[in-house]
Amino acid sequence: MCETCGCGDPELVPVALREKILAGNDRTARHNREHFVAAGVLAVNVMGSPGSGKTALLEATARAALSRGWRLGAVSADLATDRDAKRLEAAGIPSRAITTGQACHLDAELLHRALHDIPWQKTDVFFIENVGNLVCPAIYDLGQAASVVVLSVTEGEDKPLKYPVMFKAVDLVLVAKCDLVPHLDVDLSNIHDALSRVMPSPRAIEISARTGQGIDAFVAWLEEKRASLRFAGKGSGGLHGAHAHGSASDRAR
């Protein structure tokens, strides 16, 4: 109300919010994270290009992890079909497909809804296989404790330089399909060099789901993450983890 003359004219007011556009997603992600941590489940967000070998990695990991007695679970996201979830089931990982329709990424709400349909609480490690995409999944926190990206050697040595947002935010890069290196004009040292220019603390494991190369090292990395989850009583962060609880994230009025 115009208080000077009482004419009843509306007035223009600036409302300062200073909040993240994805504050709603981040709230749901925090909720997911609290559930995972309370249940002692290591949730891992697995990202990478279409065809980079995310599902093959999880199949190979299942062989190594199940023999250690780990209980695994997964959701697998694609625009259409439940083919990957079926592959994971066949590999011994109880799984559920999330079909995203036209959406190019998972968000915390999609994951939350899927979790209602799968006994994730009874797992030690729960994989969230994201939609194949090096762009959009990077900015959506899901509530994971750790994030990994699968980068296959056939994608080109400079891929990290082209998609810095994805690589700067992950805890580990799995350089995949390394059994193909002898057949390609690719130099693994160039991939590691590119990673050091987009990740402040680069960590990478060279793997081959076909030969099993590096899979034990990945399982050991997961074991390390599980130990820190138990030790800290909460997730190590992963994507957006550093500011997941920051007061500036939601509201700063």
Partner: protein
Amino acid sequence: MHEYSLIQALLKRVEEEVRARQALKVHALALRVGELSGVDPELLAGAYEIARAGTPCAAADLKVTRVPAAWLCPRCGRILLPGAVLRCPDCDVAAELSEGADALILDSIEMEVP
């Protein structure tokens, strides 16, 4: 192309504020988009043009401020050259991203209230 879903989240948030303050009209929205936020400001503006019809933001300007990114040494403050290895050559510690460089922020809403 996640810009459209970001705009949906933005419009939903603005509508909440419009209801809470019983606003008559929204005049402008101000956003800050970091260079490493994973969002293209032009795609964001394009998505806004399409999505705002029929919402309280139908006549509201979208002001986008771009926040440039730099990697800095947390110890000596040195700014690393673009494309460099993300480790301070003097202090040998991991670089940190400059403030706001990966953020996507709804700064303010200018609205008409009764």
